[in-house]
């Protein structure tokens, strides 16, 4: 059926530049904003922000946020929200810490258990949304409170009264699985580079950056896999369809309920991944972990071009959105701006970045 290429010669199609084609993709919409933010900091920030150590420094929180944002963006494309992500970070963090410290389980057992447990909570979220027909906003909001509260109660139970559970680092340090979920990757390479003077070192000679934090690798990998799933698999098509119009999708044979419940489980697992990584890195967990992360994850997704109403967006957009957000939050500290003005700048930069995105996109695509 290759004669269908005939349409390329339709006289009703004007010329379209390569740039226009690229910017039309929701995946790349956020790039303009990223460039703007980058330029801003290149001009205003301390030079150390763009050294290797500086970049790793803002990429680490961006990656942690980004892992959540990718889950949130898939769910948002599928037409639902999960406001319990942040609390889920605390809750699965508690579960994981209790499994390792209190119960003394090895990581190979504790980590899968944590994921299964979180996915189950996600499934409960999803099942209630689907069965009741209530908006996911209100259902997951209830879980925002419930999980946060249970984290507090659970912590007190596990520690005998404290809101902080310590000692995770000590018990997992020697576990063979630890390097996959914590610390830095490629430390050998970095040490070598440092010895050869290829990357910066402290006066002591140690490399300023001991390696690539694993969350950055996880973040990049997740963004790639999620993009692939969205654009190149039937499941991706189902996600877009379920979020675009659940009725129409279901009438066309998309298993909307299964899709949505899976997405809730996925989002919960993203929260669990962040919990595992940060608990192992910090060596402790407390009842406030992940506070307001649901909010930031949604922000990153929206900066990245997801529609709150569902059916439109991309994982790669959320990837860039998380980097923009992470860069702005950390970057402002490199600029010497008085902390009092911090929020004004944060808000202003966010607004500028999305307005700029939007203006550029409208310009290239010729929307009226």
């Amino acid at each position: 059926m290759s004669d269908s290429v005939q349409i390329q010669t339709d006289e009703r199609i004007g010329a379209e530049s390569f740039g226009a084609k690229l910017m039309k993709r929701p995946e790349l919409g956020a790039v303009a904003g990223l460039v703007l933010v980058l330029v801003f900091f290149l001009i205003t920030a301390d030079r150390s922000m763009f050294t290797l150590a500086g970049v790793i420094n803002f990429m680490t929180p961006a990656a942690q946020l980004g892992i959540l944002a990718i889950g949130a963006s898939l769910l948002m494309i599928g037409g639902e929200f999960d406001l319990s992500i942040g609390s889920m970070v605390a809750f699965s963090g508690l579960f994981f810490a209790a499994a390792t410290v209190t119960m003394g389980l090895p990581l190979i057992v504790a980590i899968p258990l944590t994921f299964v447990f979180s996915a189950a909570v996600g499934a409960v979220n999803g099942a209630i949304v689907i069965r009741s027909g209530l908006p996911s906003f209100i259902v997951t909001l209830a879980f925002l409170f419930i999980l946060r509260g249970l984290s507090l109660v659970g912590l007190k139970l596990a520690t005998g009264g404290s809101t902080q559970l310590r000692g995770v680092r000590d018990v997992v340090e020697t576990d063979w699985l630890a390097p996959v979920f914590s610390g830095d990757a490629f430390t050998g390479v970095f040490a070598m580079l440092a010895r050869n003077g290829l990357i910066e070192t402290f006066k002591s000679g140690a490399p300023k950056v001991p390696g690539l934090p694993v969350e950055i690798l996880w973040f990049a990998a997740l963004a790639l896999v999620a993009t692939y799933v969205l654009l190149r698999t039937p499941a991706g098509n189902w996600i877009f369809a379920s979020g675009g119009d659940a009725n129409a999708a279901s009438n066309s044979g998309v298993p909307v309920k299964a899709v949505k419940i899976s997405l809730f489980m996925l989002t919960a697992c993203c929260a669990a991944l962040v919990a595992i990584i940060t608990v192992m890195d910090a060596g402790s967990t407390d009842a406030r972990r992940g506070f307001q992360k649901e909010f930031e994850a949604i922000i990153a997704s929206v900066i990245g071009g997801c529609l709150l109403t569902g059916g439109y967006g991309s994982a790669i957009g959320a990837f860039f959105g998380a980097i923009i957000f992470g860069m702005v939050v950390i970057g402002l500290t490199y600029t010497g701006i008085d902390q009092d003005w911090f929020q004004v700048f944060l808000g202003g930069m966010l607004l500028l970045a999305v307005l700029f995105n939007n203006a550029i996109r409208k310009r290239v695509t010729g929307e009226r």
């Binding site: 301390d46 150390s48 922000m49 050294t51 150590a53 500086g54 420094n57 803002f58 680490t60 929180p61 942690q64 507090l152 009264g161 404290s162 809101t163 902080q164 310590r166 000692g167 995770v168 680092r169 402290f202 006066k203 002591s204 140690a206 300023k208 940060t278 890195d281 910090a282 060596g283 402790s284 407390d286 009842a287 406030r288 972990r289 506070f291 307001q292 939050v329 950390i330 500290t333 490199y334 010497g336 008085d338 902390q339 009092d340 911090f342 929020q343």
Partner: protein, 284 residues
């Protein structure tokens, strides 16, 4: 010299704005180039990243608060390893030394709670309520625990959000549903202390109120006899001294030999009047 301050409290927190004022005064006095930074919310993961960012800039001195030693130790140890002089303030008196900080300026939270508890017990309290407006902040848990320890009687913890209207209603509800409560200890003057005073007044009961930290209206209540006392940790000193020490250290290599206990300091009705104005100016 360049000095960076990374603390867990936000610039818009009335308590921390005083710390920041101290920091700024020290900067002006010493001529050092100082910046104050904090995470958006009480978030230890984000805070450790801010410390990393500060270390990357290789300042001549670093001031940190340490509300969670486990979470912050890698970042602080990295600073120490990089040869940056570190002073801890406010939270972390117990771990400061072991992490390699030069000294700590602040109060021991448990002790502060204990002292307040003992004083309130001595004033006749037997049944206490500890109003916690920042659930999950370990320093605040320690205060309630110290309170219970020093107080001797029963202590109930009342967790709230930091919305004054909600706190007022909740304290009122707690008083109404438990006639035996005779003492309220709030963990922050403006968010929890002031509404607690209002709730006690509205209930018409004879209940003692005390609070951690200062605020002008709360001090006024102390003066007026509506509140017993405020526990001051003179956080202005925490910002001022830490920066000052580090500036002197950068210039002359000077450093005091031990921790500076900036509090606790009980402000009762006799002293309250003198500090109201300073509190209104963001110095106490």
């Amino acid at each position: 010299s360049d000095i960076l301050v990374v603390a867990h409290g936000q610039a818009n927190d009335p308590f921390w704005s005083v710390v920041k004022n101290g920091v700024e005064k020290a900067a002006a006095d010493t001529g050092a180039n100082v910046e104050y930074r904090s995470p958006e919310t009480f978030d230890m993961v984000a805070m450790s990243q801010l410390i990393d960012a500060a270390v990357n800039q290789e300042p001549d001195g670093l001031v940190v608060s340490i509300p969670d030693a486990d979470a912050l130790s890698p970042a602080i140890e990295r600073a120490v390893a990089a040869g940056i002089p570190v002073i801890s303030i406010n939270a972390g008196a117990d771990v400061s030394k072991s992490l390699g900080a030069l000294l700590h300026v602040g109060q021991d939270e448990f002790t502060a709670g204990q002292i307040a508890g003992a004083k309130l017990a001595q004033m006749g309290g037997v049944n206490g309520l500890c109003v916690n407006q920042e659930v999950g902040n370990v320093s605040l848990d320690q205060r309630c625990a110290g309170f219970e320890d020093g107080f001797g009687g029963t202590v109930t913890v009342l967790p709230t959000t930091n919305d004054p209207a909600e706190i007022e209603s909740k304290v009122r509800a707690a008083l109404d549903s438990d006639e035996s409560i005779d003492t309220v200890l709030a963990l922050g003057a403006s968010t929890a202390g002031e509404p607690s005073v209002a709730a006690v007044k509205a209930s018409g009961r004879d209940v003692m109120v005390a609070s951690f930290d200062l605020s002008a209206p709360f001090l006024q209540s102390v003066v007026d006899g509506d509140a017993a006392f405020a526990i001051d940790q003179q956080q202005f000193l925490q910002g001022y001294l830490a920066v000052n020490f580090l500036a002197l250290n950068a210039e002359y290599g000077l450093m005091p030999g031990g921790n500076v206990p900036s509090g606790p300091n009980l402000i009762t009705s006799d002293k309250a009047a003198q500090v109201i104005d300073l509190s209104a100016q963001g110095i106490r």
